[in-house]
Amino acid sequence: MNKRSEPLKGIAERAAAARRWNPAALKERLAPICQRTLRKQVLQYVAYTKRHALVQEFTPNDDEQRLYDLVSDYLQQPNLYALPSSQRQLMTLMLRKLLASSTYAISDTLAGLAQKLESAESESEAAGIPQEFAENFELLPEIEDEWAEDDEDSEDIVKKPVTLTPEQREERRQEIARLREFYELAKSIQRNSKGEQLLTALEKGFAAAGKAQAGQASSLQQKALIFTESRRTQEYLFRLLQQTEFAGKVVLFNGSNTDEGSQRIYREWLQRHKGTERVSGSMTADKRAALVEYFRDDASIMIATEAAAEGINLQFCNLIVNYDLPWNPQRIEQRIGRCHRYGQKFDVVVVNFLNKANAADMRVYQLLAEKFQLFDGVFGASDEVLGAVESGVDFEKRIASIYQQCRTPEQIGFQFNQLQSELDAEIGQARAHAQEQLLNNFDQDVIDKVRVGSAQALDRFHSLLWRVTQFSLAPHAKFSSAGHSFDLRQNPYPQLKDEVLTGRYEMRKGVEDANTWRIGHPLAQCMLFEACNLQTPSAEIVFDLSGNPTAMASLEPLKHQGGWLTASLLTLQSATPSDHLLFAGVCCEDSSLDGSALFGSTATPLEPVQCRRMFDLARAMVQAQPSLLLQSETHHESLEKLLEAERARILLQSDTENGAWLDAESNKLDRWAEDRRLMLEDELRELDEKIRETNRAALSAGMLQQKIALKQEVAQLEAERSRKRRDLFEAQDRVEAERHALFAEASRRLIQQASTQALFTIRWRVI
């Protein structure tokens, strides 16, 4: 009721919040659910390189400037037949971007617009956006999506066919004539002042990029990635470069990749990689791979449209040329991210083309470079900065509207100053600070442990996979003496004939000219399934302690000893099932092992780790002795007992761990229930306060009528309070009941069903 006091109340509340504000408490509650790492925390193992910005200025000639002014003027008209209101924003953006890109980019589009108007059957807005626009300006559908997202709730405007009046028809005819005139002008401009600076820009860029490699590279890598938003500009730049020293060293990359050069590159690539997994079968994907490979190995320059370049990795290139510049800072970050990413060895040079005669262009660039810091520094635009403009789309829209509204340099200056000061406010440090204060739990010790632990786990994993592979595929493949690779001669599993290629396999990351051997490979999956189900009757296995690359200290005492060993698989079924390998073994004091008298009290138990360790020995062989089956019976009981103890140990361990998780869950639920209770009590407290307030207001009210009204209000509030008080206990009980139910559900999920599967029992001997 007292709205007018809010500004003051706001301060008081903030002051109260500041007193209450306890980041530690919130941080603690966020800790189990939020994880955040900062770039500065990983510098020791991620080597970030820097980026440097260079500007390539140009000044349009008179014809170019005239075209720019004419089209810009046209776009600022309030009503245009060619750009109906439903498409207006989007098409205006596209036309402005094409206009800034090159005369080649804009000319056909102008003609297309004229043609669209001429051929439209209905004279109303019916006509959609011509297909060829999206073919030239590939970002169109994407931007359309992005811009539409913001108005997800706006209803579609129902379009009614409108009949034009004779005056309107005349206007429309004039608009077509204007578009034709622009087209003719654009077409007549053969020389682009911007394009003429390309070689200069490349020279400067290569020099800077070369300097960044100095002293670090064995041979200089001369590669440049040129970005443009228009396919027509892309073609123009290609023609331009064909007349220079770069002729024959330029590769194109765009949404369709149907030009002759790309087709040829693709065919050659197919030839080269035929029969390997590199060929995915998807022509689009394969073409992209082929073009990237060609750029890496053969070409010097790639001219790419960014819509196509999304997601490709070009860390072997450290020069980026932004021939035209997107307004969406996130898109620029994406562009630069193609090269300035993990794996880039050198500093990355970014060359930006800038129209000196265009005040708005200059200001946009200034914002992108200075406020967003896109082109300099180690990390590029920081999250806080990019985040400040929401999705980047807002910023793009904002820029577009400035271009649309402003006609004079003063207006442009004013609007940009405004935008800049808004950004300054948005890009605050306080927020970033709060974010880090709350979310960061970086612990170097934990990270170090993970690094060592994961490396060990991986090594072990690969060595196991390799040993099984050697065993299982021996009849079907030829193994190389060096490295983890083999030649698959025939596919052992006919059911996999479509998925398994014969030929060379290598077990490592980033295999290019062979197949990758990995556990997820269909062949590996089949092989492992088969190995899991191998017949393993009791037998004697002789393990050889000699000739191991690493010392096996725990096995030394077993030298010249023998005994029994059994392995089984324990499965714990719960919310997250887990499998555990159990080992039990005994050592019999005498190595001769052949009389039944030996078994019995003389056997001493082995550590489970010792049992497992035996299988890590490099040499072992089976001594087939079918009669052993009988003898193992005699030892069955003691092995069983040991196995049972092992089983109990693992169950206990798992139960203890789960108990700790359950405690954590219970703690969380307690606090949740506490929150709910607080809320219920808080409602009451607020009512109390409101009653007091209203009472006071009634006291000080001058008019009798007003007094009476306020008193009535008090009575109502008091009634509500009584009701709430009665409800409070019930509501609290409900919260309690819900908490119990949640806890019961959590406990249920942790209850384990254990089952055991025997794998094998062997007689062992260590020599």
């Binding site: 007018r4 209450r20 504000w21 955040r36 990983v42 306080a430 899991c532 490099a618 709910r676």
Partner: protein, 306 residues
């Protein structure tokens, strides 16, 4: 160096066993499938998300460029290896292709981008819920909202939500995409990826956390009471502080009334209360700007009146 069938059987079981959730071995298969060098913070993040067997998921909020996609990729690859294959990635439309490519290139994971066209085709081919298929499904936020009932009835093993800050306003009633995704996936395990979980107010963090786990915080109201104001550092400026201090020194209790004319003009404009100057009273919370010396006595008189 050759092994016996006993070795092979043992090793094969070791390679295919499901490890407990809190161990690095849990991720061994995914780590070994990865075609990029993984960084320890990425592995740690992947472990973090489902460290507790009761976990409903996590918000992975690394700064840009630290490989959140890879962290999610590890989790997807592990689920895939465990043959839990109802996997979904929700991301902005323009990143769908990139996700598809990265999962294929880096983890050999097959994906299908689901959009209006592919959805209809799949239905025509006889799959009445195209969200259920033998590949990882990738779709946009809009599509997820449009097909909410299908999303709801699929028993997802893991849902990855990329650029999740787009859902940060989920606590507001008007946020349709946010509430559709939150409610239809409430029972599923989720991983939210965002570099900026906190942009404008702490409420947003509350919103994101509530998508993952509704029982971490009570409700928004209590959350605000306990923690609000933090997003901007829960601070007041020094001039605001002195203002409050003077109010306290003047001994005005919190229900005093103060005439608007007692306030200095500077304060009025500073706090944009001009629009209310037609009324006689400013607030009843006892907080007001220290007026001129002359106004002091007048205010005293007024405050005694009640």
């Amino acid at each position: 160096m050759s092994i016996t069938p006993y070795h092979a059987k043992l090793f094969a079981h070791e390679l295919t066993r499901r490890a407990p959730s809190d161990s690095i071995e849990k991720l061994a298969t995914a780590l070994s499938e990865a075609q990029v060098d993984l960084n320890p913070h990425q592995i740690e993040a992947a472990l973090f998300a489902f460290r507790s067997p009761l976990s409903k998921g996590a918000i992975l909020a690394d700064e840009v460029g630290l490989g959140k996609t890879i962290e999610a990729g590890i989790l997807l690859a592990q689920r895939w290896a465990e043959r839990r294959r109802r996997l979904l990635v929700i991301c902005p439309a323009n990143l769908r292709k990139q996700w598809s490519q990265e999962l294929a290139d880096k983890f050999f994971l097959p994906t299908a981008i689901l959009e209006a066209r592919t959805f209809t085709e799949a239905v025509r081919r006889g799959n009445l819920n195209p969200f259920e298929q033998s590949k990882i499904v990738i779709c946009s936020y809009q599509f997820a909202r449009a097909k909410e009932p299908y999303l709801r009835q699929t028993a997802w093993d893991l849902v990855v939500i990329d650029e999740a800050h787009r859902l940060r306003n989920v606590y507001k009633s008007g946020n349709k995409i946010g509430s559709a995704i939150k409610s239809s996936l409430a029972a599923r395990q989720k991983v939210l990826l965002t570099a900026t979980p906190l942009q404008n107010s702490l409420d947003e963090l509350y919103g994101l956390v509530s998508i993952v786990d509704e029982f971490t915080f009570g409700d928004l109201r209590t959350f605000r009471k306990q923690f609000a104001g933090a997003a901007r550092g829960a601070s007041i400026t020094s001039s605001e502080a002195s203002l409050l201090e003077e109010a306290r020194l003047l001994g005005v209790d919190s229900y005093s009334v103060v005439p608007i004319e007692a306030l200095s003009g500077g304060f009025k404009s500073a706090y944009a209360i001009q629009r209310n100057t037609d009324s006689h009273w400013l607030g009843n919370d006892g907080l007001f700007f220290p007026p001129s010396r002359a106004g002091f006595e007048r205010r005293r008189r007024f405050s005694r009146r009640d």
